[in-house]
């Protein structure tokens, strides 16, 4: 270490000067300790914040004039986001395992008005304001007019005490110039100031939250990026076209919609019928809280049951519109030989990967069962263990050696994958990596993670099928010599929101009872056994 060829400053005076200044600089910075920048995680507050004076902040303020949109939104996942017991459990999990250094990162999307108005991520829900508990309420979206795409929810929203916000949407305000000349595109005079924003006909509005990059560089969710790099973006089919239309999962043009009143006709009889979008934002998720939204909507048991069933059908329609399955089996097979079953899954309807969304969340898998005529099962893949988990490496029954691992399992679920203590990687519940750093500390990424794709600490493993692509899985079935023909082949493409072990890891395992498995496709076939 001779240091030849390098010019070095004389250390003495420079060192003393800088070292002497450091305490002063540090003290100066520290002196600002009362600013929110220093006290990022405030202790749990015991009193709710005083409510605001701004009228159009809480979604209930919109209900009077926009009752249909309110009803759709109130039972949507946008309304449920901050109520979700799984989200709350996950947020506590990652906060406690990162020493709180993850801060408001998750809440920023789940309760944008709450966090923007200064509520701590550790604040209990029953202490939060009404607007905060609207989760992604009306104003979270309808205040947006600037392009904060890929910001992971870091965007300004109206907060208590702000001036009355301008409400943006797809129609021109009464005072705006309407370049289309079509009066249907221009609003009548409204109690609030209204303006048009092109964001409401783009994917970028959705991409401000549905593309999630953690501060330290993990690409946690990439629905927008997947869409952007796929064929739907090139055709100009955006998120709203599939998720806010009359049939979930089928793209529609706004002008194809049946015209309806976007405001209560009794209050605004002069308002014409317009193209009204579906504010249920139908996706694959649903509430795990029984009767969520029932009281807010003032519904009786029968009405709520009907609404719940309607939402379930919408969800299943969306999912079934997303994928198609084909099965190829031989007509005849010899006893004692091997039979190949070829199953192909095509992402035929989703503009992003199938499935997409938060890693570790959505499971889509193939269940393949072969039985002989006597009812004996000769092959199974995609079946569940006694904990209702798939027989993969996360299965507790597999880990305990009770049952064999399902080597042929086709599961499109994504996963968090972390770099281990010394080389190689393994999956994990969250991105906090205690193996690599016993004190996980979330800071801005130390390497260019947008460029390199992931931080050193790990990455997201993705198995989802890109739009219009097909994945094929082959199953080799050994036909027993004493099998009784014909063989019955059953193939199902199945979906559920969470793997049960994930809920147990978060400490909310009891919610697993409410998980629904939806069969997106069921195909049955018979194979004769040649003598």
């Amino acid at each position: 270490m001779n240091g030849q060829g390098r010019v070095r400053p004389t250390p003495g005076k420079t060192f003393a000067l800088v070292a002497s200044l450091l305490p002063a600089v540090a003290t100066l910075i520290y002196g600002c300790g009362t600013t929110p920048g220093w006290t990022r995680l405030k202790p749990v507050e015991t009193k709710p914040k005083p409510f605001h004076q701004t009228v159009f902040l809480s979604s209930s303020a919109c209900q009077t004039c926009h009752p249909k949109q309110y009803q759709e939104w109130r039972t949507s996942m946008h309304s449920y986001a901050q109520h979700s017991p799984v989200f709350l459990a996950f947020n506590v999990y990652v906060l406690t395992r990162s020493g709180g250094t993850l801060g408001t990162f998750c809440d920023r999307c789940h309760t944008p008005i709450g966090i923007s108005s200064g509520e701590s991520p550790t604040l209990a829900n029953d202490k939060r304001s009404e607007a905060a508990m609207d989760s992604v309420g009306c104003m979270s979206c309808h205040s947006q007019h600037r392009n904060y795409v890929e910001s992971s929810g870091l965007l300004p929203v109206p907060i208590p005490g702000d001036p009355e916000p301008i409400i943006y949407g797809p129609y021109y305000g009464s005072q705006e110039n309407n370049p289309t000349g079509d009066p249907i595109n221009q609003l009548i005079k409204t109690p609030h100031e209204s303006m048009r924003s092109g964001l409401f006909e783009s994917a970028q509005l959705c991409g401000s939250c549905h593309d999630v990059f953690s501060p330290d560089g993990f690409r946690i969710e990439e629905a927008y990026s997947e869409w952007k790099n796929g064929p739907y973006a090139r055709k100009g089919i955006v998120c709203e076209d599939c998720h806010m239309g009359p049939e979930p999962g089928k793209p529609f043009a706004r002008t194809e919609l049946t015209r309806d009143y976007i405001v209560d006709h009794n209050i605004f009889p002069q308002a014409p019928k317009r193209y009204r979008t579906n504010h249920s934002f139908t996706g694959p998720d649903y509430s795990l809280i029984p009767e969520y939204g029932k009281n807010a909507l003032g519904l009786g048991n029968k009405q709520f049951a009907a609404l719940t069933e309607h939402l379930k059908q919408e969800r299943e329609t969306l999912l079934r519109n997303a994928a198609t399955v084909n099965v190829d089996v031989p007509h005849t097979v010899a006893a004692g030989s091997r039979m190949t079953i070829e199953v192909s899954i095509t992402n035929s309807g989703a503009g992003h990967n199938f499935p997409t969304g938060f890693a570790s969340e959505r499971q889509v898998w193939l269940e393949v069962v072969v039985s002989d005529a006597s009812g004996r099962q000769v092959y199974a893949s995609g079946d569940l263990d006694r904990y209702a988990d798939l027989r993969d490496w996360e299965s507790e029954a597999v880990q305990a050696g009770e049952i064999p691992v399902d080597w042929n399992l086709t599961n499109l679920e994504a996963a968090f994958v972390l770099t281990n203590f010394r080389g190689t990687q393994s999956s994990a519940v969250s991105t906090t990596n205690r193996l690599l750093n016993p004190v996980p500390f979330i800071t801005p990424a130390t390497n260019p993670t947008f460029s390199q794709g992931f931080p050193f600490a790990g990455r997201i493993f993705k198995e989802g099928i890109p739009p219009l692509q097909t994945r094929t899985a082959d199953y080799e079935v050994k036909v027993p010599v004493d099998a009784v023909g014909p063989l019955k082949v059953s193939v199902r493409l199945r979906y559920r929101n969470f793997p049960p072990h994930f809920l147990r890891d978060l400490g909310v395992g009891t919610l697993a009872d409410q998980l629904q498995i939806i069969d997106l496709a069921t195909l049955k076939s018979e194979v004769a056994i040649a003598k």
Binding site: T14, G33, G37, G100, R219, T419, R422, P438, V439
Partner: protein, 463 residues
């Protein structure tokens, strides 16, 4: 209430602000700061509060400026017998990281390590007859780069996916678990994520060009300077397919140095392939192979590495094996490619410690260890390693290591609830690590056989 009254608890004596007292004062003061990145300007980093909207845009993205500072303080106390010489050091380290966030994707990042010239050239106190401080100060940033997606505005309706990322400056680059590239490069990277080809849905491709590299721990003779200043351009591609993660890289170097005097030809090619398969929580296998092609025999060779890890009865076993030919080289000038493969192979960037040969070429080696109770606040890791040196100056080695790591905040305030987390407050970020090392060297040539011993205590505080 961990966030109140901090100043009152922190007493720093600065009546005679000599350099050492000032340094200690600074460190003590910084240790009193809360355990999170500090926002100096703009909307607070992962904090409650409104986002600042200056109403401007940069390359089509909304400008949301924010300036954060974070980093770590580390004290290393080292006692060792290395190459038949006994030494005791106290080595402080300060890493300051500054992040200027410009937009959602664009930022400028700066890493500054003021009290060192670079790796293995720290400020330190040496005990013994010639005891005293060796003081070093450098104003040169260790890393300084811009990264962002500056092309999206060319397709505002997203009809064309122009989400290419550009990174330019002095950039840390770490590929194939550091075996292939592990250094700070001066140059740029141009990359594209989310490329969809068939059922591959997660392909990232990066092109990089280095105009030179940092020179960590190198004896800066003419040959090494030429190595560090050679230009390297390459590609790295990675993605998921079925249950596997693959990473493929290729790079070519060419000697653009104007330094005279050496005949060695630095024009080489480098390739690398890594395949990783995970098996649930705590278990995984990685197979890595890489090689270099040179003109003639200089710099041509191969390395193969098998990394395995498995959770057994709540413990974490790992076993890594490697073998390399004599002339294998990395495109990176880094002299410590095997640093991630075991405690015994770890390159300490402050002081040379007893270690197994971590340069790789001409050796076959193995590290096997177990992390006991890996989820607990205190973990214990015994490790055994060996290395057979096939090079002319053969130095076979066998070693033992034992490492204890303690998350001090969890030790003093145990529990995983929110209230315990809030109570830990500024204590979070403190880590104590004790490492004991013993290496037996059997040298068939001039140096002879010897034992190296070392004990190292590190106190680390992240802020």
């Amino acid at each position: 209430m961990p966030y109140s009254g901090r100043m009152g608890r922190c007493r720093t004596r600065t009546a005679r602000p000599g350099p050492i007292a000032a340094l200690l004062g600074a460190i003590l003061t910084l240790c009193c700061a809360p355990a999170n990145a500090i926002t100096l300007f703009g909307s607070n980093f992962v904090s409650p509060g409104q986002q600042w909207d200056p109403g401007l845009s940069l390359f089509g993205e909304e400008l949301a400026p924010r300036l954060d500072v974070d980093g770590l303080v580390r004290f290393q106390v080292l006692n060792q017998q290395l190459a038949n010489q006994t030494d005791d050091f106290v080595t402080p380290e300060l890493d300051l990281q500054t992040n200027l966030q410009l937009t959602a994707t664009q930022r400028v990042y700066w890493l500054w390590r003021p009290f060192e010239y670079g790796a293995r050239e720290p400020t330190y106190f040496h005990f013994g007859n010639d005891h005293g401080w060796t003081k070093r100060f450098s104003e040169t940033p260790q890393a300084l780069f811009y990264e962002g997606q500056p092309f999206n505005w060319l397709s505002p309706n997203d009809r064309v996916p122009l989400d290419f990322t550009l990174a330019i400056g002095r950039i840390p680059l770490f590929l194939h678990n550091g075996l292939w590239f592990n250094n700070f490069m001066d140059g740029f990277q141009l990359s594209k994520n989310n490329i969809q080809i068939g059922t591959f849905s997660n392909i990232n491709i990066m092109y990089f060009l280095t105009l030179g590299e940092d020179q960590p721990g190198l004896n800066l003779n003419l040959a090494n300077r030429r190595e560090a200043e050679k230009r390297v351009m390459g590609f790295d591609m990675n993605g998921d397919w079925r249950n596997y993660f693959f990473e493929i890289s290729y790079a070519a170097s060419y000697d653009n140095s104007k330094l005279p005097g050496l005949d060695q030809n630095l024009n080489r090619g480098f390739w690398a392939v890594s395949i990783t398969r995970t098996f649930g929580f705590n278990s995984g296998v990685s197979l890595r192979a890489m090689g270099s092609t040179g003109n003639g025999t200089a710099g041509a060779g191969e390395l193969a590495v098998l990394e395995t890890q498995r959770g057994v009865w709540g413990q974490l076993l790992y076993c890594n094996v490697f073998g390399a030919t004599n002339q294998w080289k990395t495109p990176s000038v880094s002299g410590s490619p095997l640093s991630q493969e075991g405690i015994l192979f770890t390159f300490d960037r402050q002081q040379a410690t007893p270690e197994l040969n971590l340069r790789g070429h001409g050796t076959v080696g193995n590290a096997i260890g177990v992390v006991l109770d890996p989820r607990a606040p205190i973990t214990y890791t015994p490790e055994f390693g060996w290395l057979i040196d096939n090079e002319y100056t053969s130095n076979d080695q066998v070693g033992l290591a034992f490492q204890i790591q303690a998350d001090l905040a969890h030790v003093f305030i145990p529990g995983n609830t929110l209230s315990e987390m809030v109570r830990r407050g500024i204590l979070y970020g403190a880590l104590a690590r004790l490492t004991l090392l013993g290496v037996r060297n059997e040298n068939t040539h001039t140096a002879g056989d010897r034992f190296d011993f070392g004990s190292m205590l590190e106190l680390i505080y992240q802020f």
